[in-house]
Subunit: 375 residues, 2 copies
């Protein structure tokens, strides 16, 4: 690889995932790295790197201070112009890595892709938001000379979920159903809350601990509403729909079209702070305890799952019951994700992928893995 | 894709996997297919396809009769010349798909790769055989202008095992240990034989049923010797060793260097036929029953596993005991494979891939998946 022209990488977003991604990228031993970092953009500033910039090992320890002392403001329009010039005039291969969770950045993907700039991102917004943005991404990336769009780490972080789905579809398998625990937060909460016994800790207590451990958003309702799962299901559904041989799935106008059974008690909707929400959650513990008890009497556990039921033409997220012998009950631990692909070929027993589905290191790995696919 | 020049595909080997592969390849809807089939070679004949050949849907039903009525003998030397001309003079992109299990075909990979011909194969021989052939493949495929070598389906058939390992390594993760049930045959046998109870069916009876169902080779000793697992472990170990940042693993001279604990009773070594072997196996049922009983007393089951212990610098295959709560006990069924990647990032809980690890449809899918990576 080292003898070929490097792929030029522009990074937008330098938060937890972004920082880890930059660290992993700069850790590839220089003679083997097929990549060259050409810019870093935070919410405030841009750092432009050129051939006279420090070599990768040095840059790895210095990029933060170089970025914070840069006098160039963050300006996505200038960045777009620079990257377009590199692609169209200088025939360079360019990858834009969006490590933000910004709708505004996602809205620019079609512009970039149309210019031949490849886009790689863990940002779920584009592929799970308004249907028109998704269609624009499909259209611009399939044009002659369009850039490629890769977003493996939007579902299951570093786990091979989207690549596996694309391979199943690309080789002519028929997806019957995808079923899984897609949220690390929900996984942790229900692995702790529902173990098959009638008793156990109070729901609010489990959510509080999860928050203390940093497994939930600052406001736990942002996890309990199920939107994160609905977004991931939308991404998977749209990938299925984008293959020519598919399918009876409904067109999702956005992730809000997914049938999502929120866990937020109606009385607690719209509470502005996480602290107040948690203070009032114990009043609803009895409801959750009743659900656990009912499941236990059937020899089952509760899990918050997402289902893309291709055969049934339905996409849904919510609490479901599984026998205590089911992999969702026996095999899960911590904040693991587990995804089962039921297909024509993988039938009656599914193809299963399992492991940590959140965290900066494994998410950044999914992003860097997408970059490696472009080499 | 359709607007780009197609990748030319030459297939050697038209047995079970080969036939299924050809069927899957020709099932990609024509306007979307990035591939063009240019030749089929069986052990006896070659069929050369050119622009006037039937279109894919028709070819799908006719290739067998066309091949069997072809007057061209199978001749790998002529094939090599034709492909070399296509690559070097006509600047075509060519993929040689080896669907045989032949050592003789595997020995040609370095020649093809050096000419810029990509090689895709489910044939384990090359990467698990003599160390020099493996080194030659590495060397020729990493040359400027060399072809790429992909063999995803040699381990776990269509499951994403090798691609996941390469992504972990390529993004800088450290492999601590890979542990798994790598043989569909061994999986079936021990899922049936050892369920955690002290009693159960006789070992010889389970092996007989497995053979009747077509899960074993005609001679069951070819499964029970553990060589299939040793070959897969060799392939994974060598992939780890081929990454620059690795590792304390010993260099395996061939799959025979793996510490493999054969299940063939010493008295039954070298028995020429499967029938005689099965007739004499019941005399050894008591030994296997004792192992099962001992495991059961510890609350464990028996599984024939393969381990690449990077930290411990050891590669081994053999019967090991696992608690009845372990995924190898709870989650496995049928002839599933399960592979656990324990890594620096996936720790303490591993990344797990599970599903059918044998069979023509899923093996061919792994091969076609590799072709799609070359698009």
């Amino acid at each position: 690889m080292s003898s070929q022209k490097p792929l030029l990488v522009a990074v937008v977003g330098v938060g937890l995932v972004g920082s880890e991604f930059i660290s992993q990228l700069l850790s590839i031993p220089s003679p083997y790295s097929p990549f060259k970092l050409i810019s870093l953009t935070s919410s405030k500033r841009t750092l432009t790197l050129n051939p006279t910039s420090p070599p990768a090992p040095q840059l790895k320890s210095e990029w933060k201070s170089l970025l914070s002392s840069s006098s160039l403001p963050a300006d996505l329009q200038s960045l777009t112009q620079r990257l377009t010039t590199l692609v169209s005039q200088d025939k360079e291969r360019v990858i834009l890595v969006d490590n933000t969770s910004s709708d505004a950045v996602a809205a620019l993907y079609p512009t970039w892709l149309a210019q031949g700039i490849n886009v790689v991102t863990p940002n779920k917004k584009a592929y799970s938001g308004d249907v028109q943005l998704w269609k624009d991404i499909l259209e611009t990336s399939s044009r002659q000379g369009g850039g490629r769009f890769l977003n493996e780490s939007t579902v299951g972080a570093g786990l091979p979920v989207i690549s596996t789905l694309k391979e199943l579809l690309g080789t002519g398998d028929k997806i019957i159903k995808i079923e899984g625990v897609f949220s690390g937060t929900m996984s942790y909460i229900f692995n702790e809350f529902s173990t098959g016994n009638e008793d156990g800790p109070a729901f609010s207590a489990v959510v509080s601990v999860a928050r203390e451990k940093g497994y939930t958003e600052p406001h736990p309702a942002d996890d309990l509403n199920g939107f994160d799962v609905a977004r991931k299901l939308t991404i998977l559904s749209r990938i299925i729909s984008s293959f020519p041989t598919s399918s009876s799935l409904p067109t999702l106008q956005s992730f809000a079209s997914v049938k999502t059974a929120s866990l937020i008690p109606p009385e607690l909707e719209g509470i502005p702070t996480g602290d107040e929400f948690l203070a009032r959650l114990p009043a609803h513990d009895a409801q959750f305890a009743k659900l656990r008890e009912d499941a236990s009497k059937e020899g089952k556990v509760l899990r918050f799952v997402g289902v893309v039921d291709v055969q049934g033409g339905e996409v849904r997220a919510g609490l479901e019951k599984y026998p205590t012998t089911h992999p969702f009950a026996t095999s899960l631990g911590g904040s693991d994700n587990i995804i089962m692909f039921h297909t024509e070929r993988y039938s009656p027993r599914p193809l299963i992928v399992q492991g940590a589905g959140a965290g900066a290191a494994v998410t950044a790995m999914g992003v860097l893995g997408d970059l490696l696919k472009l080499v």
